[in-house]
């Protein structure tokens, strides 16, 4: 008993959520119960920032002002509809559905009464909380949403009890309604009283409960853990869903912005030239460092850019070869980021070494950047696909020289992001043009603009060596990596951190050696390049997992051990090791790892712990006409508790396809300081016929979600494919994208 209490206390401290300090804001008109729930202290924003800034202090510490912004908003109408306003943005990851499942479960809603809405500034949501990134949404919001939903359920129960004049204990939730249990028996008496009826008949003020309501045990869940149909799909398959590129308002016009010929170049001088007199042109907007056109159509706006007189200065004329020379591991220096035991003293055995390279990549999310700006006096409304309404708000405010409070950001559906829908803000461009032209303006980047001017996945190089004793045991392992920047990109984060830490902490993600080798060392080299690089799905875990896991396969081969047995032997210590073992065994079982594959095919394995989730992947590949072909993939994932198994499977399947596209196809290069590719003709993606069949095994290892699923799997793919090709041909592939010798 004592144990359990301590345990629970630790749990809630760890989450930073103190149960009794919830504040419920009650509102709404007659016949509706509207509740915004606020955690005491800006807990969630803090947690979000913490997640992003792991390992260091930002200097941007959360304030201690009393909380006023909700993190979830419920509204129950007299007709029994339950509206849920969710503070995370739907970009295909199914977050609106998953968080609605969590809320509906604890509030005991009948699923068909649930309507899910994007939470936005209208209902007082803090834009910082809406930042949707890093697969953190479910883990951050799971517990607080349940707690407030349970509180709401109890408020409804005691009000219903008062209205019916029965003891609250006799009221049983039956799905957006209560039924009364007969006195002294188990039968439920008709008719039920719906939540809507309770709300409609309520006289006077609602009171928030004094004590924390009991939460369901996992055995009582009715929605959590089930593959509930996504709430956003009906609108999506009928074409009704509105994304940032689809935002419209009466009288809107279209904007286009002049772009530099080289990365880093700035506008020295600009004049309208003949642009203003071209057909369909409404305004030419020129100001410090910015030139753009507003026209009747997008085509006319873009065409008019060519008539502007522009003089650019500065920037880079760097070549691909120079970039590759910059992102390399120097003979010495670097920042020590992991030290276990003594690698030097134990590194004298047989050496195995290898180096790996990952090129830049485009996000290639299919919806390019887009925003609609409507200026009204000194305030502005921006409707846009953004992962971070906060960043958009601040950039729009800075661009117009107005207070952030005057900027309203409406987050629309996102047509793919993968890290690309934050930064280099199209919202600010639309705002400048709308203000300059005096009409609402929509700016939608072309594919060419997105490919050329969006930031890229940072290129990285990893080099590893290990020492084996005479029995094939690993005595020491050394990992050194060099990467271009993510968080240290001045457009994204704070370059000063690089000087303090000696690393880009996001690029270093996933670089530590978790396997239980007695002596381990990891060294980071900070190698920025003059091409904008930043978040890309998985962050550092993509190149680092590729390198570490392929190297594990190389070590297993050197030790003469099966790659599965090798990983089991060196699995991490403690509970994490148990989780490793479980996913490894699950994927081995599903894929028939111990059985010989079909002739001409071979399998490769890789595993990872990332962001709370443990995953293992097996792929089965062959070589056909000199091309690598991946036929099948099996992936076991353990994110703690799985909220929606089918949604989880979808995230994993998508990660495998995106990872495979990087493994086999994608290489973004720069010539003369500018992107070599402008569109998909020169930067092809993986297609359907090249996609493997994929089986996902979702494992629940606990009572709460501890990890995300959007990212950990991506970096497993190149490692598993490389290992499969080695098993098949004996050739080691260490540079992405793979080409066979």
């Amino acid at each position: 008993m004592t144990d359990k209490t301590t345990n629970e206390k630790q749990k809630s401290t760890r989450k930073g959520v103190s149960r009794r300090r919830f504040l419920l804001i009650l509102g709404g008109g007659v016949g509706a119960l509207a509740v915004g729930a606020v955690a005491a202290g800006p807990t969630l924003v803090r947690e979000g920032r913490l997640a992003m800034n792991t390992l260091f202090l930002t200097g941007d510490a959360p304030g201690t002002a009393p909380p006023k912004a909700p993190f979830v908003w419920f509204q129950i109408d007299a007709d029994n509809t339950a509206h849920l306003y969710i503070p995370k943005i739907e970009m295909g990851q199914g977050i609106h559905t998953a968080l609605a499942q969590v809320a509906a479960d604890e509030l005991d809603l009948a699923w068909e009464t649930v309507r899910v809405h994007q939470g936005d500034a209208e209902r007082g949501f803090d834009p910082a909380l809406i930042f949707t990134f890093g697969s953190t949404s479910v883990t951050a919001l799971y517990q607080p949403i349940r707690e407030v939903a349970a509180a709401l359920r109890e408020m409804l129960r005691s009000e219903a009890a008062a209205q019916l004049n029965v003891a609250a204990e006799r009221l049983v939730p039956v799905g957006s309604a209560f039924m009364v249990r007969e006195e002294g028996g188990d039968n439920l008496l008709e008719p039920p009283i719906t939540y809507g009826q309770v709300v409609a008949a309520k006289q006077g003020e609602w009171k928030t409960p004094e004590t924390t309501s009991r939460l369901k045990t996992s055995a009582e869940f009715r929605y959590i853990g089930r593959s509930i149909e996504r709430v956003d799909l009906r609108d999506k398959v009928t074409g009704r869903a509105v994304y940032g590129f689809d935002a419209r308002v009466d009288g809107m016009k279209y904007g286009a912005v002049a772009r530099p010929p080289r990365y880093g170049a700035t506008l020295k001088r600009a004049a309208a030239g003949t642009a203003g007199s071209l057909p369909g042109v409404i305004a030419v907007v020129i100001r410090d460092g910015f030139a753009g056109v507003v026209a009747e159509t997008r085509a006319k706006a873009h065409a008019a850019l060519a008539a502007l007189e522009l003089e650019w200065e500065g920037g880079t004329n760097i070549s691909q070869a120079e970039i590759e020379a910059m992102v390399s591991i120097p003979a010495q220096g670097g920042t020590l980021i992991q030290r276990v035991g003594d690698v030097e003293a134990n590194g004298g055995g047989t050496r195995v070494e290898a180096a790996y390279r990952v090129p830049m990549a485009s996000h290639a999310q299919l919806e390019p950047q887009a925003a609609l700006a409507e200026v009204d006096g000194d305030s502005v409304t921006i409707t846009t696909s953004t992962q971070s309404p906060e960043i958009t708000r601040d950039r729009v405010a800075a661009a117009l020289g107005i207070d952030a409070a005057k900027v309203r950001v409406v987050p629309a559906y996102i047509g793919g992001a993968f890290g690309r829908k934050t930064g280099i803000d199209v919202g600010a461009e639309a705002a400048i043009l709308a203000k300059g032209a005096g009409v609402p303006v929509h700016v939608g980047w072309t594919r060419e603009e997105d490919m050329m001017y969006g930031y890229k996945r940072p290129p990285a190089v990893n080099s590893l060596w290990a020492s084996l004793d005479a029995d094939g045991r690993v005595t020491a392992i050394h990992h050194e990596l060099a990467s271009a920047d993510i968080l240290l990109n001045p457009d994204i984060g704070a370059p000063i951190l690089g000087r303090i830490l000696g690393t880009d902490p996001l690029a270093a993600g996933g670089s530590l050696i978790l396997y239980d080798f007695p002596n381990r060392r990891v060294v980071y080299h900070h190698t920025p390049i003059p091409v904008p690089t930043a978040y890309w799905r998985g962050l550092g875990s993509f190149p680092n997992t590729f390198a570490i896991e392929t190297f594990m396969d190389e070590l297993a081969a050197a030790a003469g051990t099966d790659p599965l047995d090798f990983r089991l032997r060196y699995k991490p210590e403690g509970a994490l090791g148990d989780r490793f073992e479980r996913v490894l065994n699950a994927v081995a079982e599903a894929s028939g790892w111990r059985r010989t594959p079909t002739d001409g095919r071979a399998r490769g394995l890789a595993a990872i712990y990332d962001r709370g989730t443990v995953c293992a992947l097996v792929v089965e590949a062959s070589v056909e006409n000199g091309q690598i072909r991946v036929h099948r993939a099996w992936c076991a994932v353990d994110p703690g508790l799985v909220i929606n198994p089918d949604g989880a499977a979808n995230q994993v399947q998508g990660s495998i396809i995106m990872g495979l596209s990087s493994t086999l196809k994608e290489r973004f290069t720069v010539e003369n300081g500018m992107a070599a590719a402008q569109n998909f003709n020169a930067y092809p993606l993986l297609t359907l016929a090249e996609a493997p069949t994929i089986e996902v095994i979702a494992i629940n290892s606990g009572d709460e979600p501890v990890g995300g699923l959007g990212e950990p799997v991506v970096g497993l793919v190149p490692a598993a494919v490389s290992s499969a090709i080695f098993a098949l041909t004996g050739e080691r592939l260490r540079e992405l994208p793979f080409t066979l010798a």
């Binding site: 074409g239 047509g415 594919r447 990660s655 396809i657 998909f680 016929a689 996609a691």
Partner: protein, 160 residues
């Protein structure tokens, strides 16, 4: 010029060389048809001209005059009592929970609908070939295959 989209006539002032995609999206506000590349590569902008799948980003509006245009908004039907009845392809894409962000999915579904109309009982290889020229960056390919096969079944059931 006059365009007929989803059985409705529209009078539009457009330059004959304007691309159909932007007339549909921006001029007429039918934003279900998506833009992904403007170069005929990704398939996001796929619509039907007289039942045939075409890429509206590289189709001039003049080519669509006097032709029945169908967009994703016109794929579902209305039942006699005014209820929206999803097309078998839309039903199948929902049933299999195929879309993620769904930006590519209007194009995927329009491609699939035209394909199944001409080949109601396709083999897996035929599905792969028919759907191979539509990108999905979210990586829904495995489900798209299943969804198209399922749509063929639903259409058969409906016809039976």
């Amino acid at each position: 010029m006059q365009l007929t989209i989803n059985n409705q006539d529209y009078e539009v002032a457009a330059d004959p060389d304007d691309m159909l995609l932007w007339v549909i999206r921006d001029t007429l506000g039918l934003t279900g048809t998506k833009y992904g590349c403007g170069a005929g590569i990704c398939g996001s902008c796929t619509i039907h001209l007289d039942g045939e799948a075409v890429r509206s980003c590289i189709t001039k509006v003049s080519a669509a005059e006097g032709v029945a245009i169908t967009t994703i908004e016109g794929l579902a039907m209305l039942s006699d009592d005014g209820e929206e009845v999803l097309h078998p392809v839309q039903q199948a894409f929902v049933e299999t929970q195929t879309p993620q962000c769904s930006w590519c999915m209007s194009g995927q579904m329009m491609t699939a609908a035209a394909f199944l109309a001409s080949n109601p009982q396709p083999t897996d290889e035929e599905i792969d070939a028919a759907m191979n020229n539509n990108y999905c960056r979210c990586g829904c390919y495995a489900r798209i295959r299943t969804a198209v096969a399922r749509a063929a079944e639903i259409a058969q059931e409906g016809a039976a």
